[in-house]
Symmetry: D2
Amino acid sequence: MVIVMRENATDEQIEKVSARLYEFGLDVHKVVGVQRTILGAIGDVSTVDRREFEIMDGVFEVHRISEPYKLAGRTFHADDTIIKVGDAIFGGDQVTVIAGPCSVESEEQLFAIAKAVKDAGAKVLRGGAYKPRTSPYAFQGLGEEGLKIMQTAGKEFNIPTVTEVMREKHLDIVMEYADILQVGARNMQNFPLLTELGKIRKPVLLKRGMSARIEELLMAAEYIMAGGNYQVILCERGIRTFEVYTRNTLDISAIPVVKKLSHLPIIADPSHGTGLRDKVAPMARAAVAAGADGLAIEVHHDPDHALSDGPQSLYPQQFARLMEEVRMIAWAIGRKID
Amino acid sequence: MVIVMRENATDEQIEKVSARLYEFGLDVHKVVGVQRTILGAIGDVSTVDRREFEIMDGVFEVHRISEPYKLAGRTFHADDTIIKVGDAIFGGDQVTVIAGPCSVESEEQLFAIAKAVKDAGAKVLRGGAYKPRTSPYAFQGLGEEGLKIMQTAGKEFNIPTVTEVMREKHLDIVMEYADILQVGARNMQNFPLLTELGKIRKPVLLKRGMSARIEELLMAAEYIMAGGNYQVILCERGIRTFEVYTRNTLDISAIPVVKKLSHLPIIADPSHGTGLRDKVAPMARAAVAAGADGLAIEVHHDPDHALSDGPQSLYPQQFARLMEEVRMIAWAIGRKID
Amino acid sequence: MVIVMRENATDEQIEKVSARLYEFGLDVHKVVGVQRTILGAIGDVSTVDRREFEIMDGVFEVHRISEPYKLAGRTFHADDTIIKVGDAIFGGDQVTVIAGPCSVESEEQLFAIAKAVKDAGAKVLRGGAYKPRTSPYAFQGLGEEGLKIMQTAGKEFNIPTVTEVMREKHLDIVMEYADILQVGARNMQNFPLLTELGKIRKPVLLKRGMSARIEELLMAAEYIMAGGNYQVILCERGIRTFEVYTRNTLDISAIPVVKKLSHLPIIADPSHGTGLRDKVAPMARAAVAAGADGLAIEVHHDPDHALSDGPQSLYPQQFARLMEEVRMIAWAIGRKID
Amino acid sequence: MVIVMRENATDEQIEKVSARLYEFGLDVHKVVGVQRTILGAIGDVSTVDRREFEIMDGVFEVHRISEPYKLAGRTFHADDTIIKVGDAIFGGDQVTVIAGPCSVESEEQLFAIAKAVKDAGAKVLRGGAYKPRTSPYAFQGLGEEGLKIMQTAGKEFNIPTVTEVMREKHLDIVMEYADILQVGARNMQNFPLLTELGKIRKPVLLKRGMSARIEELLMAAEYIMAGGNYQVILCERGIRTFEVYTRNTLDISAIPVVKKLSHLPIIADPSHGTGLRDKVAPMARAAVAAGADGLAIEVHHDPDHALSDGPQSLYPQQFARLMEEVRMIAWAIGRKID
């Protein structure tokens, strides 16, 4: 931690700050400049709230000098984490596509979509059984029945599955049926849920919250990893900005930023990121071009009658065409989609 | 719902849109303008996703023509809801102040603070037993022990208490000890938790999420009210913006906006809204001046040694002085702090 | 400037950074911690782009340790700047209200409004002669004719005037007629205009840009002051956020923040900050309660027929009532409205 | 314009609104629903401020039903506008790259960079002669001397040039030397400058403001086009969000959105959009993959000693490699870089 004193800070103020640092068991290095004094605090600052110093008399600014995350960062883990689930590989030179409907609606529906997306090259099947809906009056998902259909479809088409776990109490049952557990954007800082996911040994797909800074996304991953579960796949899905044309602003730049800060794989979800079908393909291509390790795409064979998010779901033939495009883009930047 | 067709929309496109509206059981009124055709859809649109129409050929824009919330809005409930908890009154001409430490740390600590804030005019005692922390390595609260201390302090000083319920599984135990249950900003869209809170009959203090539009705050209240619990106190606590000097931007304008749209009381939390002690008093005064029904203020008798959020906690004497100021401001605008 | 090296930075990388710092004529102090090395750079860093160091190998983060503004900051100018224009005083314990129509429309209109606002206690008359309009097809102001009317009204009612200068080429003419020159939000970073305003010796009312951080507002003031014109009145008028109910989010917290960082007076403009008449009074009261040195309020005697911004203009009787309220609020916090 | 009345609106309120609409010369169509009445206003609403109706008693919401821009929109101009400058083509199936230094520093510098970027495939040379700088103490550009160097380099390497025009008074001189005139982000709503640019007959490169909604970008283009200059190239360069890791958030989704709403070409500027060299290439690739008609990239042969923006400038060899990548990406989506 570095504490920058004001230009007119008194010796007494500087002493008080130093004394407080010693109280935390930190070593203090004092650099006296022409205009200002800087105090470098050396030691374990993980329990220090830097605002405690910001409000002390004579203090100008306080800067942290290490990331708050350890396990999720590259500092002590330089190599990319590679997560394998069945034939799907997240990380490394692979670009891996997850696809499927927003909600599982019936076996017939899911089988039709599963076949189409697998044929087009998707490696993981997605589908929601428990749905977080902004309106209490909207369709809330099929629940366990949906999970069973997911599992059956996964076996039938030999494709691993991912579905959202919305509540701690659903953890056991979702664990039983799904191969990857998804944490939705609204739960990115549901710390008890993250803690529970740290105790399991299945991969977690962690979506960025709508108002989460990249650092906070990595801290959420840290929560899971602190429990011993290192298989975390990050997912950019759009942040909230002043722009109103799109539902959210898909922050493509988060992809290269996360790749630099963290060894964890990161994919993009252009379906929720834009909320509009005709924007999904351009943004999916952009994410791959920017270096994403994969995509999560909503596909529906009959979006007009989908029970949720039909307007942002691709038709199977649109999805197949998109796969062709991203395959070439992956190749153009030295990566591949098997 | 109003559907505005493009200026060059064909008759066929207009017919398709009309047909789709009829499919939803809606009546369609067609207004043919000089340049554009408008379709007014009359009937129950609560299950219609308006993006379904936005992506149809020939459609320019789709507008909703009613609020998505019913119980939380003023349309069918013109009079202010007034919520009474012991001597505390939220709503009407009262301005009611909640105060206390961020975390319950010990009986000694809470008793000292409870006495001070009650003496200064606070009507509800706050304190956290379960703490949502962004770092898995930070103090997570005393748990049930903290709840017991809260209850004891409440009885000792004859003041109702409010504390956060972070998890569904804690609902029963928090119900047992606390008078008002708080939903934190990160849980504002934890829909299962909101649903459970709809089943109880104690007041809920619902904090606005950091990226929640005002409409979404009201929809979150709707979730609770849809279950039959109408005692919801809203709380503005800062939204995330590009400004970095303050932790969050306390959206004071949300107060008059909510007062117009909803009959529910709304208070402000300037402690979390700014994150800095010296900004708490100005923003608390601003909130009351703008018409807030109350405040939630963090107070600590020894903030330098607080286990959490010390830097944003007021000293008891600062709190007492703030109470004097807001008392006069309330009076200046025709309200009162008993 | 403080440069924090990565934990695994090599000696060679640290040397390279040091060498580069020396190249800029800076002294380098090296603090070697258990995990990281920190380099403190002492000297004049005003011409250094800190990103140059952020992209060097082995560098983790770079922190500035002084404000980029000198003249606008409190460090070398601890006392509040007080600006007097006629009977109006900005700064100190006074709260001063500017009022008038959005646009000058006619002598009759301006005289009617000037009389009303002066009677109610306004100390400065506002009115636009050149209007920045988002549509090229909208009313653009009366131009010099409007300036003349302003000046006549100012003399008639013995009240100083403020009007916007939109273009460098208008500077001379606006100087001739107005007592205070306003820089609109969209021109806050029109650096050539700011430079020209630094050369004059009349007060400047500088509005915060819609996407400007507080530091950038102070840097814009610095531009004017660097030219020798120290009479700058800052104005918070709302920032752009994801909230859509209000036009902008009036950032009330900017008021106490600016008061701490700068000696310049700061007022608030709740008319543009909210864009809606019924939100103007609550937000005006909030701004004064938070410590604003004044207000700028749009008032129109016939807002339904105003040529611009009628919907956010107060009726004269609403303005008079607001003046009573803010007078009491000012008094409640130890200030006064003469 | 569509006016939605409240559910409990009285007949008298509905009459008042209708009367006001007639006052504006509009036709009124009344749709009486089960719960609400809707008024459709038909006619020229370009001079109506819809807030005037929003604040009338009994009104719930007011919706515009046409874009405020006419010339910039696709409604009356379905085909892509194609702008040719020398060998450079903006629009159609071409992807065209602009490259060069942030600032023109010397003939030697510009010639070296011009040669490198032309060899790599750039079709337009960029370079700043007048620089908008946030600090009054920073390098402000070479001025006319810089323009002369630009022109010489353009002739020497047979490549058209683009440079920023910051002030109205510079318009003539910049016209004399440059082939394309750039409007910077901070000037996107400098309406007098836009008006002047409407009078010339050279292409304008119009950058999106940091807080500008897409609609406002198109309105700024409308300002230029309203004067008769239809050669406007739009440029996405990042918007301001809460994310702090990057300087701005490059809004890639603006590209497909603009392509749908407008016939004008749109390019992306990943250099300013990210502010960090190692993020430029991923974001440039993303922009092309999303359908951008071109790129503007800062390149410098010696960025460590660049007078401005060195940290976001690519080395010539990085630029050459990026050109190879985007060439393949363009091909992958059916476009080409000649």
